[in-house]
C-alpha cells in the first residue's frame, strides 16, 4: 500500500537511493534526504500520535525542531530504543523502526481517547486537584495514568553507543547557517576571525535555500541560487569550521555554549558501530553571532489540532525541499503574507489550493496579487471557526470577522480539505539569547519579543532579531557586522534585493468563535493539551504571574518547551488580564534548547570511568587476598577479608579477635598527610588544634582535634614533630582535601604573617599499621636495627629508620587501643613492606583487617570517627573530650564558640555508650532513642551512631548521641524498632581497657 505523494524531484532528495523503514510495524519506503516526517507524509500518513491528556489524534505539524506532536519511539525493545524523537528531525536510514507514543494499545484505537469526551471534567489543574484525594486511591490512579499517558519508554539495557565531549575555542561562533549565518560566517572569516559555524540541520542555507521564487531576488538571481554560490564559497575558506547536525543546547554566561554534534543518528546500523554517536561540544567563543531564525506561529481556534493541520511554512518546506505534497485539497489560513509564499510554491508545482482564509481585510501585496491571478479564492477578513475529521481533517467552517476582530458575523461557510496550512506570523527564536541572560523588548507593531540588551560579546542577526523580510535582513546585516566585528566593510553593502513580502499582519491571539469558549478546544500547547480555555480558567482562579499560569496549565512544559504556543499563551493572558505584553515578560527558556540524551551529557564518564577512584600502593595485595572493598571518599579501602565460607560478620569477628589476641595488620595509606614546615609551624598548630603544641618534643606524636569557627568538630588525627620546624599531620581519609583547604585559607587570609608552608603528601607514603600484643615482635623483626624498648621508643613517639635500604618513618601510635606501630614508606615500597610484615608475622597469626574491624576495635575503646559519631553539631564537650580542649590557650579556631549560649546548654546531644539488656542484640546504626514510650508526642532523645558485637567483650556495644546523655550514666532507655523495643543502659563510651594498659602490653 505504498502511496507516493512526490510532486517533483527535489535536488535535496536522492530518488535513486531508496530506503525502507518501519512505522508502527508496517514497512514503508522513502529516499535518502528524507526525514521520518517527510517520508511518512509521502506515504500519506499524517496521524502519528496521540496527545498527552485527551489522547486526541495528532499529526505532523512542522518540519523542524519545534515539532510538538510527531514524537516517536525508535527501535522499541532494543538497547538503542529512544523515546521522544521528533519525526521532523530524524533522518531515515535503512532499518529504521519507529512507533507512536502516547497511545495504548494503538494509534488508531486508543483507550485514553475517552479523555477527549471527558474533557469537560478534565480542565487545567485537574490532575493536581483530583488525584490528590483520597491518598489511598493514588496507586490506582497512577497505574491508569502512567499506562495510558506514557511519554515513551526508557531503554532498559546499557547504551551501546559511544559519546564524547570536546572543547572548542574560537574567535567567532555563528549559530545557524541560514542566509544570515552564512553571510556572518563569511564576513568573520574574511576578516581574520577563526570561526565556527553550526546548524542543527543536515544542510546549509536555512529556509532560503529552497526559496526558489521570482518574488525574492538578490542581485537579479533567485535568492536560493545567490545563497548557493555563497555557500560554495565559504566551503572553500580556511579558518572556518562548519558543523551541521549540530544543535546548540545551552548558551551560558561569558559566551560559554554547549552544542550537540550528531554524528551517526542518520546512518544505518552497520555504519553506526564503533563510531562516536554524539559529541557534546563545549564552546568558548570570543564573539557569538546568533542567527537562529524564527518559528512560524500557529493560529488559535476551535479544534486547531487535527492531523492535517500544519504550519504553512512546513507545507512549503515539504513541497520545495522534500518534494512531498501534504494534501490534495489544501486550504491556507493566515494573518500575514507568509501563506501566500506557500501558495505560490504549491501552485507552481501543480498542487491544488482550494482557498486562502486571511484575517486581514485590505492588503496591498504583490504576493496576494500574484495568487489572485491564479484564480485562488481568497476570503479576506475571515477566520476559521471550527474543523472536523477525526483522524484527518476533512472540513473547515469559516465566518467573517467583525471590524474589531472580537466576534464572528454573517453566515458560516464550509470548505472541504485534507490539509490546512496555518500561519500566525513569526516568532524570533530568542531562546538562546535569553538563556545567555539577554533582555528582550516587545515590539508592538507586529507583537514580537526581540533582543534588546546583550549580556556578553554577542549579537543577534536576521529573523531571530526581528528582521523578517529579505530586504530588511540583507540591509541590516552588513551594518550590524561592521559594528560588531569592528571592520571596515563587508561584501554585502551594495546588494540589490527584491522582496514581494508585505509586513502587514492582523494579530488576534485567540480567534473568535460562534460558540462560547467553554464549548471550544483551541489548543495553545499541543503537546501538553493546554487550551485557551485552560489559560482563562487559571486567570479566573487567581493566577496572574506567567510562570504560575504556565505551571498550572502546563503550557510550555513539554519536550518542545512550547516553541509554538508560548506567545499565544502570553497574548491570551495579556488580553484577559488587561496587562501589557511587554510588562508581562516571557517565561524563562531553559537549556537544553532541544532535548539531549543522557549519553551525550555523560560522554565517556561511564562504567569504570564514571568516577575516579584511588587505590593504595597495597591494593593489589588486598585484591589477591579476596578483600571486599568499601568506598571512602574516592578511595577503595579494604573492608574485610572473608575466608572460605565466612560472611561479613564472621570475618570481622575473627579479624577483631586476632588483632587483640596476637596481631593485626591494616593498610592505613589513605589517611590524609600534610607536611607542615616553617619557623611558625608550632604556633600554627596551636591556632588550628584545640590542644597545646608548643611544648611537643621533637620525635613525639600528639592527637589533635580541629574545630570549625562555630566550635563544632571538623577533623582529627595524629600529628608528629619530625624536627624543630617540621611536622607531619594526619587527617581523616575523607577530610584530607578540605582540611588542607581550610588550613590554607587561614594561613593566606587571616595569618599571612606566619612562616608556614603546607604540602599534601597523602599519595607519597604508604602506611602499614601493625597492632596487637605481638606487634613489637613482628615490627622489630622487619626493622632490625632499631631500639624498640619502651624507654627508647615509647607510645606516641616516632623514629626514622631503615628497612634494608628503604627509609621509613615509624610512629608508635594506636587507633585500636593495642600496642601498635605505623610504618610509613615511600609509596612504591608499600607493598613490599606489607609483605615483609606478613612474613614476619606468620608465626603470630598476623591477620589483615579492613576498615570494618578497625571501626569495631576503636568503638571498643570509645574512639570517635569524625563524620560517623559526629555531625556538624558536636562540640568536643558534647563528645566528652574536654581533656583535649586547652584552657590555657588564649585562642584557637572555634574556641570562642565553645561558650556561646547554645553550646553551653546542658541538654545538648552528647556522646555516650549504650549496652543492650540482651548482650547478643546488636542495635541498628541510626536507630532513634527514647526514654518514655507513653509520652505523647514521644520525645526523640538521640540516635545510635556506631554499633557492633564485640568479640573481645562478648557483648553488643554501641555509641550514641543522647540529649543530656552525660548525666544519664546507668539510666535505662528504649530503642523502638519496627516490631519490638530494645532496652538499653547508658554507659561510659569506653568499653575496653579504660586504663590503657594494653598500649604498653
Amino acid at each position: 500500500m505504498t502511496k507516493n505523494l512526490r510532486v517533483k524531484t527535489s535536488k535535496f532528495i536522492d530518488e535513486t537511493y531508496k530506503i525502507s523503514f518501519k512505522f508502527n510495524g508496517t514497512t514503508y519506503y522513502g529516499y535518502k534526504g528524507d526525514t521520518l516526517a517527510s517520508a511518512l507524509i509521502a506515504n500519506d500518513i499524517h496521524l502519528v500520535g496521540r496527545s498527552f491528556k485527551y489522547h486526541r489524534p495528532r499529526g505532523i505539524m512542522t518540519a523542524g525542531s519545534e515539532e510538538p506532536n510527531a514524537i516517536v519511539q525508535l527501535h522499541n525493545n532494543t538497547s538503542r530504543t529512544e523515546p521522544n524523537v521528533r519525526a521532523t528531525e530524524i533522518e531515515i536510514y535503512e532499518g529504521l523502526e519507529a512507533s507512536s507514543q502516547n497511545c495504548w494499545p494503538s494509534v488508531n484505537f486508543d483507550v485514553g481517547g475517552i479523555n477527549n469526551f471527558l474533557s469537560p471534567v478534565l480542565p487545567a489543574g485537574f490532575y493536581y486537584k483530583t488525584f490528590m484525594w483520597p491518598a489511598s486511591f493514588w496507586e490506582k490512579y497512577e497505574y491508569f495514568i502512567r499506562k495510558s499517558a506514557g511519554l515513551g519508554k526508557s531503554p532498559t539495557e546499557p547504551d551501546p553507543d559511544i559519546y564524547e565531549h570536546k572543547y572548542i575555542h574560537c574567535d567567532v561562533l555563528v549559530i545557524g547557517a541560514g542566509i544570515s549565518g552564512i553571510m556572518a560566517a563569511k564576513t568573520a572569516v574574511k576578516n581574520g576571525f577563526k570561526t565556527l559555524l553550526v546548524d542543527e540541520k543536515s544542510y546549509l542555507g536555512g529556509s532560503t535555500i529552497y526559496q526558489n521564487s521570482e518574488n525574492f531576488k538578490i542581485n537579479n538571481q533567485n535568492s536560493n541560487s545567490w545563497l548557493e554560490k555563497e555557500i560554495n564559497e565559504i566551503k572553500k575558506l580556511e579558518n572556518l569550521e562548519i558543523k551541521t547536525r549540530t544543535s546548540v543546547a545551552a548558551f551560558h554566561g561569558y559566551n560559554f555554549l554547549l552544542a550537540r554534534e550528531n554524528l551517526t543518528d542518520h546512518l544505518p546500523f552497520d555504519q553506526k558501530k564503533n563510531k562516536t554517536r554524539h559529541r557534546l561540544l563545549k564552546i568558548r567563543a570570543k564573539k557569538v553571532i546568533t542567527a537562529t531564525g524564527s518559528i512560524e506561529r500557529p493560529l488559535i481556534f476551535d479544534n486547531n489540532d487535527r492531523p492535517g493541520i500544519m504550519l504553512s511554512s512546513a507545507i512549503e518546506k515539504y513541497a520545495n525541499f522534500f518534494g512531498v505534497v501534504c494534501g490534495k485539497k489544501n486550504v491556507l489560513f493566515t494573518n500575514n503574507d507568509s501563506a501566500y509564499e506557500t501558495a505560490i510554491s504549491l501552485f507552481q508545482k501543480g498542487i491544488d489550493i482550494e482557498a486562502i482564509i486571511d484575517n486581514r481585510e485590505e492588503i496591498d501585496s504583490r504576493l496576494i496579487k500574484e495568487t489572485e491571478k491564479n484564480n485562488i479564492k481568497i476570503y479576506k477578513g475571515y477566520t476559521v471557526v471550527n474543523t472536523s475529521g477525526y483522524k484527518r481533517i476533512s472540513k473547515i467552517s469559516i465566518m467573517q470577522l467583525s471590524k474589531d476582530g472580537q466576534k464572528v458575523v454573517g453566515p458560516k461557510i464550509s470548505i472541504k480539505c485534507d490539509c490546512l496550512g496555518i500561519s500566525g506570523g513569526w516568532t524570533p527564536a530568542v531562546h538562546l539569547f535569553t538563556q545567555s541572560g539577554g533582555k528582550l523588548e516587545f515590539r508592538d507593531e507586529d507583537q514580537v519579543f526581540i533582543p534588546k540588551i546583550y549580556p556578553s560579546n554577542q549579537i543577534s542577526i536576521g529573523s531571530c532579531s526581528g528582521d523578517f523580510t529579505l530586504d530588511e535582513i540583507l540591509s541590516n546585516i552588513p551594518k550590524k557586522l561592521i559594528e560588531f566585528l569592528d571592520i571596515k566593510k563587508t561584501d554585502y553593502e551594495d546588494l540589490e534585493v527584491y522582496s514581494s513580502y508585505n509586513k502587514s499582519k492582523r494579530n488576534i491571539w485567540l480567534l473568535p468563535s460562534d460558540k462560547v469558549i467553554g464549548k471550544t478546544k483551541p489548543f495553545v500547547d499541543y503537546q501538553n493539551d493546554a487550551t485557551a480555555k485552560d489559560i482563562k480558567l487559571a486567570l479566573r482562579e487567581g493566577f496572574r504571574s506567567i510562570e504560575h499560569v504556565k505551571r498550572y496549565t502546563t503550557t510550555g512544559m513539554g519536550t518542545d518547551q512550547g516553541k509554538l504556543g508560548n506567545m499565544h499563551a502570553l497574548g491570551i493572558i495579556s488580553e484577559t488580564a488587561g496587562s501589557k505584553m511587554g510588562e508581562l515578560g516571557t517565561t524563562t527558556f531553559r537549556p537544553p534548547y532541544t532535548p539531549l540524551t543522557f549519553g551525550t551529557i555523560v560522554g565517556r564518564n561511564v562504567g569504570e570511568y564514571f568516577d575516579i577512584f584511588r587505590k593504595t600502593p597495597i591494593h593489589e595485595w588486598h585484591e589477591k587476598n579476596k578483600a571486599k572493598f568499601e568506598n571512602v571518599g574516592q578511595w577503595k579501602r579494604a573492608w574485610y577479608y572473608p575466608k572460605e565460607g565466612e560472611n561479613m560478620h564472621d570475618a570481622v569477628q575473627r579479624e577483631s579477635k586476632a588483632a587483640r589476641d596476637s596481631a593485626g595488620i591494616l593498610d592505613a595509606s589513605t589517611l590524609g598527610k600534610i607536611d607542615i614546615q616553617g619557623t611558625d609551624a608550632s604556633e600554627f598548630l596551636n591556632r588550628v588544634y584545640t590542644n597545646a603544641w608548643s611544648k611537643l618534643a621533637i620525635g613525639k606524636c600528639r592527637y589533635g582535634l580541629m574545630l570549625n569557627e562555630d566550635g563544632m568538630v571538623y577533623d582529627d588525627g595524629v600529628t608528629t614533630r619530625l624536627d624543630e620546624n617540621h611536622y607531619i599531620m594526619t587527617t581523616t581519609t575523607g577530610g584530607a582535601a578540605t582540611v588542607l583547604g581550610k588550613l590554607e585559607d587561614y594561613l593566606q587570609t587571616e595569618w599571612p604573617e606566619l612562616d608556614v608552608y603546607l604540602t599534601s603528601v597523602t599519595d607519597h607514603y604508604a602506611t602499614v599499621s601493625v597492632c596487637g600484643p605481638n606487634s613489637k615482635k613482628i615490627v622489630s623483626q622487619v626493622i632490625s636495627d632499631l631500639d624498640f624498648s619502651d624507654e627508647s621508643f615509647p607510645h606516641m613517639s616516632f623514629k626514622n629508620a631503615k628497612i634494608g635500604k628503604i627509609k621509613c618513618r615509624v610512629m608508635r601510635i594506636s587507633f585500636t587501643g593495642e600496642h601498635s606501630y605505623e610504618i610509613n614508606v615511600q609509596a612504591n615500597y608499600g607493598k613490599s613492606v606489607w609483605e615483609k610484615c606478613m612474613e614476619a608475622g606468620k608465626k603470630f597469626n598476623i591477620t589483615p583487617y579492613g576498615t570494618e574491624t578497625m571501626h569495631l576495635l576503636r568503638a571498643e575503646k570509645g574512639f570517635i570517627i569524625v563524620g560517623q559519631d559526629t555531625d556538624a553539631t558536636m562540640t568536643p564537650i558534647d563528645l566528652q573530650m574536654d581533656w583535649i580542649v586547652s584552657k590555657k590557650k588564649y585562642d584557637f579556631i572555634g574556641k570562642r564558640s565553645l561558650y556561646r549560649s547554645d553550646t553551653i546548654r546542658e541538654d545538648r546531644k552528647q556522646l555516650v555508650g549504650l549496652l543492650t539488656e540482651n548482650p547478643d542484640e546488636i542495635l541498628e546504626e541510626g536507630a532513634q532513642i527514647i526514654a518514655d514510650i507513653k509520652k505523647s508526642p514521644i520525645e526523640m532523645l538521640g540516635h545510635v551512631t556506631s554499633s557492633y558485637y564485640s568479640p573481645n567483650l562478648k557483648k553488643s556495644i554501641a555509641l550514641a548521641v543522647v540529649k543530656g546523655g552525660k548525666s544519664m550514666m546507668g539510666q535505662k532507655l528504649i530503642i523502638p524498632m519496627e516490631n519490638k523495643q530494645i532496652n538499653v543502659t547508658v554507659s561510659d563510651p569506653v568499653f575496653l581497657d579504660k586504663e590503657n594498659t594494653r598500649l604498653n602490653a
Binding site: G741, E744, R896, S897
Partner: protein, 91 residues
C-alpha cells in the same frame, strides 16, 4: 560558567575555582573579649547583595591561592580581581 582572572595564573574557567563567601570580614583578634552577639555577628552574618559584591575566591585546581573578586551578582560580570591584603578598588 564564567572566567576568572586569577591574579597569579591569569584567565581560567570558573570550575577551577571555589567561592569563599564575602570578602573583608576580618577574624577578631581577641575573640574571648567579644559578647555572644558580637561573636555571632562575625560568625554568621553575611551580605547577599544583588549587584556589586566583594567576594573571596580560591584557585583550588590551580595555584591554591586565595584572592578577592568584585562581582556583579546580577549578571556575573567581574569588575575587578585583587590579591589578599590589597585594598578593594573604590570605583
Amino acid at each position: 560558567m564564567f572566567i576568572i582572572n586569577c591574579p597569579y595564573c591569569g584567565e581560567r574557567e570558573q570550575s577551577e575555582f571555589k567561592a569563599g563567601g564575602e570578602a573583608h570580614i576580618v577574624r577578631p583578634k581577641q575573640p574571648t573579649e567579644l559578647s555572644d552577639d558580637q561573636w555571632a555577628e562575625y560568625l554568621f552574618m553575611r551580605k547577599n547583595i544583588k549587584g556589586i559584591q566583594f567576594e573571596r575566591w580560591v584557585h583550588t585546581h590551580g595555584c591554591r591561592k586565595w584572592f578577592n573578586v568584585v562581582r556583579d551578582t546580577s549578571n556575573d560580570v567581574i569588575k575587578a580581581v585583587y590579591k589578599m591584603g590589597e585594598k578593594p578598588p573604590t570605583k
